[in-house]
């Protein structure tokens, strides 16, 4: 079977590195990756612990399918208590790092305590050590990646690292692997930085074996063919094809969610990325796959060399990760910017310094609204005019935040803390302190419910109500698909595969692959039940951490101010209608707590 059956416990306080057998009973109940890491987190820390203190636990976890030839098998998750929300944080990433960890013989890394001095973890075959990070502390993601490979004379090392943002406490710092793939959201990189852990470098030369090789190859081949039938658009245009859909629909958050449509959308959308300009420059160079992925939605782009952002900075005259929908949203409509090169450069800076583009962009959007209201002035912003639409302000502030200089220190607090500091918490477009993704919940009602109940705060990746939201702009009938897709997404994440396969594969298709892969008699029903168990355990962590029903809400702007245009013109989000129905379906009481019956049914008593 595809588990290595081993985890590595890393105590950064004592420096001890202890391999332990993987708890297979937990793997059977929680699938792997996100679910299994949640179980390990629950069993290994007090949810009330300070997210940025030594008592927080940080887990890197692969899934049962990670490192196999199933399509999109490169994923790993980082799970910890989040510094933005005080809730459970769970971010997953592609690239090659996750599979490499499995090949190195570990299913999961469990990191505890705090190192006195900056260190990095090296796993190179049988040699495992913590090494001094003195010479890379203060370096960027890209510099760190190059330095470690050179230091160990091993270009095959796969590296997950934080940038300066994570070292210096930006609340939404990311863990970036393979230069431009990231466990981007919820500040998992901030926690890594607070532990004085700069990077994890892995080279694995072992193999992954599956339970039933013949059946596994047959079923995964069949699944790849099925996947190819529906993902051509994602391959050609990437996720940024969504920009046009949201613009037309009127769900494209603009100028800090004051509007829901953006005039400049077609200057930064997927088609704009493909367009060759008058100088012969095309933003998009090629598409790119993560490990094992037969979709290849990743974008590799480059910036015009005469663009103001890089014209005097030759070090950026190279290709790197390009705009996805969420980065295009976060550097585009929500801050009013329609300059594709500036947006692409801001994306480079996020990867280089290790930050979540969504949280950064939405925090900057709130700062721009504060600036336009006159609450903050150029005296606060280091002389930069922070108007919506100012592309130069976007890239200057992205860099200042990444390096924690000047007003960047304020932006690094995240939207909620910043807006509270200036006396306007209502301008913070967040749930539980985490910023929204690029979908307006007045136009997409189920999305709003998913945001409000998201265990890691506002998030578009932990449920999927897209189709029902597009069909109907009321709150009616949204609770059930929200709940069901939350459970299902938890199962998909936990398998080690990518959620972009969900359009092609249902529970039966996932179960067929998982059952050929590993022990446990996986069926669609068992996967769904496991997903619900995982969702509820995340909820239990949050309740134990001190969150309550009151945290399952949306900003007033989305509940009171009607959408000014688009399909949902005149509508607000109907959370009051959806939330009680949702709690009921979940088997939670009015306080949003799972009842004894529910816990018993899920084996969580």
């Amino acid at each position: 079977m595809s588990w290595q059956g081993k985890l590595l416990r890393i105590n950064l306080t004592s420096g001890e590195l202890t391999p332990e057998p993987l708890n297979m009973e937990w793997a059977n109940d929680y699938i792997g990756e996100r679910g299994l890491a949640t179980k390990y987190l629950w069993e290994n820390m007090d949810p009330k612990a300070d997210a940025m203190g030594p008592d927080n636990t940080l887990i890197f976890a692969t899934g049962p399918l990670t490192g196999t030839s199933a399509s999109t098998s490169g994923r790993y998750a980082v799970v910890t208590k989040g510094p933005l929300t005080g809730a459970i944080a769970c971010s997953n990433s592609g690239g090659k790092f996750g599979a490499e960890l499995k090949y190195a013989g570990f299913d999961l890394l469990l990191i505890e305590g705090r190192s006195e001095k900056p260190v990095y973890l090296l796993i190179e075959g049988d040699e495992i050590s913590l090494a001094s990070a003195d010479r890379i502390w203060g370096k960027t993601v890209w510099e760190t990646d190059a330095w470690i490979k050179k230091q160990h004379h091993n270009p095959m090392l796969k590296i997950a690292t934080i940038g300066v943002a994570g070292e210096r406490g930006v609340r939404y710092a990311a863990v970036v692997n393979d230069l431009h793939r990231a466990a981007g959201r919820s500040g998992v990189g901030t926690v890594m930085g607070s532990k004085n852990l700069k990077a994890i470098a892995v080279r694995g030369t072992g193999g992954v074996r599956v339970k039933d090789p013949k059946r596994f190859m047959e079923v995964t081949d069949e699944m790849k063919n099925l996947l190819a039938k529906s993902t051509g658009g994602l391959t050609k245009y990437g996720t940024n094809a969504m920009m046009d859909t949201m613009q037309e629909f009127g769900g494209l958050p603009t100028n800090n969610f004051q509007q829901v449509q953006f005039d400049g959308y077609d200057k930064i959308d997927a088609k704009a990325m493909l367009k060759t300009d008058e100088t012969g420059h095309t933003n998009l160079l090629t598409n790119k796959a993560c490990f094992g992925c037969t979709i290849a939605c990743g974008r590799i782009a480059h910036i015009r060399e005469d663009h103001f952002t890089i014209q005097n900075r030759k070090e950026y005259w190279h290709a790197s990760g390009g705009l996805e929908y969420e980065t295009a949203f976060a550097f585009g409509p929500v801050v009013g910017v329609d300059d594709i090169d500036a947006c692409t450069f801001a994306g480079y800076l996020m990867n280089e310094h290790g930050m979540d583009p969504i949280s950064f962009g939405v925090t900057l959007a709130a700062a721009m609204e504060l600036y336009e209201m006159g609450v903050i002035t150029t005296d606060d912003t280091d002389g930069v005019e922070l108007n919506f639409g100012n592309a130069e302000a976007l890239t200057i502030m992205a860099e200042k935040t990444g390096k924690q200089e000047g007003f960047g220190e304020i932006l690094g607090m995240g939207s909620l803390r910043m807006c509270q500091k200036y006396g306007h918490p209502e301008l913070s477009m967040t749930v539980k302190g985490q910023e929204f993704a690029g979908y307006d919940s007045r136009a997409l009602q189920g999305m709003g419910l998913g945001y409000a109940t998201g265990n890691r705060g506002a998030c578009h990746l932990k449920h999927d109500t897209f189709d029902v939201d597009m069909d109907d702009q009321t709150g009616e009938g949204k609770a059930e698909p929200c709940k069901t897709s939350q459970d299902w997404t938890a199962a998909v994440d936990s398998s080690g595969l990518c959620m972009f396969t969900m359009g092609a594969w249902g529970a039966t298709e996932f179960a067929a692959q998982l059952d050929a892969d590993s022990e446990g008699d996986w069926t669609a029903e068992r996967l769904m039940a496991s997903g619900e168990r995982i969702w509820n355990l995340e909820r239990m962590f949050n309740l134990a951490a001190g969150l309550t029903r009151a945290d399952d809400t949306l900003p007033k702007r989305l509940l009171k101010d009607p959408a000014p245009s688009g399909t949902a013109k005149g509508r607000v989000n109907e959370l009051d209608r959806m939330l009680p129905e949702y709690y009921d379906l979940r088997g939670w009481n009015e306080a949003g707590e799972p009842t004894e019956d529910t816990l018993g049914r899920l084996g969580l008593s």
Partner: protein, 156 residues
């Protein structure tokens, strides 16, 4: 007909399905480190290049081998390593100008591409046709045709 693996880097997305298919065929497990084909990335993934043995007709590895462990598959043109005869001296590794024959510390022998007996799994696993198994005598035809078309259109 001698065929060979034709590699078109511009089509490669870097998914590594070829490495997994190769290691599964030869080792019974997914293990890119033991794959006889490797994909290398340059400039933050701007290009991804699969690379493997070209099955030289006058193969350096074969000539360097002191135990005659490397032989020619007359039908496929592939150079094959006999694990029984290989003593792990690595003379072939030193001799190969392309680095495509590799020492395997686990077995103490060398590994190289053998065309999977005429059905190379890397090619069938490639989702974009960046790797194809084609007539070795007509490798350039596709590129010639593309260049001819360009010339006809007044280009290069």
């Amino acid at each position: 007909m001698h065929r060979m693996l034709h590699i078109e880097p511009s089509l490669c997305t870097g998914c590594l399905q070829c490495e997994m298919a190769c290691s599964f065929e030869h080792e019974g497990e997914f293990n890119p480190a033991r794959s006889r084909i490797r994909v290398f990335e340059f400039e933050h993934g701007r290009t991804s290049v699969p690379y493997t043995c070209t099955q030289c007709v006058e193969a350096w590895c074969m000539k360097a081998c002191p135990t005659a462990a490397i032989s020619v598959d007359m039908e496929l043109g592939a150079k094959l390593v006999s694990p029984e005869a290989c003593v792990g001296c690595k003379a072939c590794v030193a001799a190969c100008p392309f680095g495509t024959i590799e020492f395997n510390p686990a077995s103490g022998k060398v590994d190289k591409c053998d065309f999977c007996g005429g059905d190379p799994k890397c090619a069938s696993a490639c989702p974009t046709d960046a790797i194809t198994y084609v007539d070795a005598g007509a490798l350039g035809v596709g590129r010639m045709q593309a260049s001819a078309q360009q010339a006809a259109q007044g280009g290069a």
